[in-house]
Amino acid sequence: MSINWFKYSSPQTFFPLAGKLALWFGALALVACGVGLYIGFFVAPTDAQQGEAYRIIFIHVPAAWMSMFLYLVMAFWAGLGLAFNTRLSGMMASAIAPTGALFTFVALWTGSLWGKPTWGTWWVWDARLTSELILLFLYFGFMALQAAIDDARRADKAGAVLALVGVVNIPIIYFSVKWWNTLHQGASVSLAKAPTMAATMFAGMIVMAFGFWFYSIAAALMRARCIMLERERSSDWAVHYAKRSA
């Protein structure tokens, strides 16, 4: 039996599937985040050096992972859309971007909240912080470009070019920032130097990472559903759906 890989590449068939998947992943995200936060706040031991302030890493580190991962996923869909001219890929890319920007912002914000009690400052021009900030700008640029273009297909393609140029640039940005910083001073504190983590801390972080991942999938699919409805509003299935749910 051969699988028809392209069955779900049309908005009409993907729309109901996305709805179901979003529901399931949303539920999974709730469970995982609940478990992760419980481990983080009640099970994991207090850190000997940083006290209770370290607990922010249960949000911070998974958010930072997701911010970078989502940019790659976004660029992957964008590139796929550019190469194969598929409609859904571009919609997925623009559906992922706000979630990616959200996690980048959360990572920066929680990092700064953690930095104040631990490093004694809200912000240092550390290589990681700086490249995360530039990643946020890349997300903003992508969203601003897509928002400025009225024609949806052109918006998808232009965004795709920008996302791919950004992907090529990310390692260059990271290394340039790293070398620039080491020229001035070594990083004041780095995660690599911290004592090895207790197993429960690590478990909490991984569970939270899965929770954020599932949330990203659910949020992106929900957003993709809205984009699909908006763009396909003149087609029969969308009209039918709108009438039925009205």
Binding site: I134, F137, L138, F140, G141, A144, L145, A148, I149, R154, K157, A158, V161, L162, L164, V165, G166, V168, N169, I172, I173, S176, V177, W179, W180, L183
Partner: protein, 222 residues
């Protein structure tokens, strides 16, 4: 093909020569921005000497961004761009020629005037060469990256502001390495490593940016 490229460069230079005020505006912008910093920060020579590389580089970044709007806009308005898209010369090559002409008009003057401006900052004379060299290697990269942004935002209502958002982010590595070259030279480490990196970026951007900008142009004009 080379004749076509020469023709594109010659045409752009001729157009710029006929409207030389455009070229001068960018140059004046660069001069004024650089001169504003001592007024805002204070005339302490030691401080000025420290911030000179960064100020000159940031001003060069802004000036070259200001000039980007013109790269494709007038060709788009009068239909020349469509002829270029249809023409037999590969679009990437045409774009490369246009970027080169654009750099000659808007980048090279900045490189040439930068040592004079650096003197305002009590900048050591033996480092003026490094400053000019870093700009000479870096400003073409700015034009190349900017071409992608200019092509993507071609014909959009909010083009100018959007262009700055897209392009300034991508300029970050050039800024860091370019200003770093001067600082390294000033601290006695020698700026060779950064200058080589800038050269590498130039080769990399020269190979890929015209091609990406060509793709973006086709998307914008289709």
């Amino acid at each position: 093909m080379l004749a076509a490229l020469r023709c594109v460069i010659h045409r752009d230079l001729l157009l710029a020569a006929r409207r030389s005020s455009d070229v001068l505006t960018v140059l004046l912008f660069f001069v004024i921005v650089v001169s504003l910093f001592p007024l805002g920060i204070g005339p302490d020579p030691a401080l000025l000497r420290t911030i000179a590389p960064g100020v000159v580089w940031v001003a060069a970044l802004l000036a070259s961004m200001l000039a980007l709007n013109r790269m494709f806009a007038s060709d788009h308005a009068d239909g020349t761009l469509e002829q270029m898209l249809l023409g037999a010369t590969p679009l990437g090559m045409t774009v490369a020629a246009k970027v080169f002409a654009h750099w000659l008009i808007s980048g090279l003057p900045l490189v040439l005037i930068s040592p004079v401006l650096a003197l305002q900052f009590d900048f050591p004379q033996e480092l003026l060469g490094v400053l000019a060299l870093s700009l000479a290697l870096g400003s073409p990269v700015l034009s190349l990256i900017g071409a992608i942004g200019a092509a993507l935002t071609l014909g959009l209502r909010v083009g100018g502001a959007l262009l700055s958002l897209l392009v300034l982010t991508l300029y970050v590595p050039v800024l860091i390495i370019g200003a770093g070259a001067i600082e390294a030279a000033a601290s006695g480490l020698g700026g060779q490593a950064q200058l080589l990196l800038l050269g590498g970026l130039l080769v990399f951007a020269g190979a890929f940016a015209p091609w990406a900008a060509a793709v973006a142009l086709r998307i914008s004009v289709e």
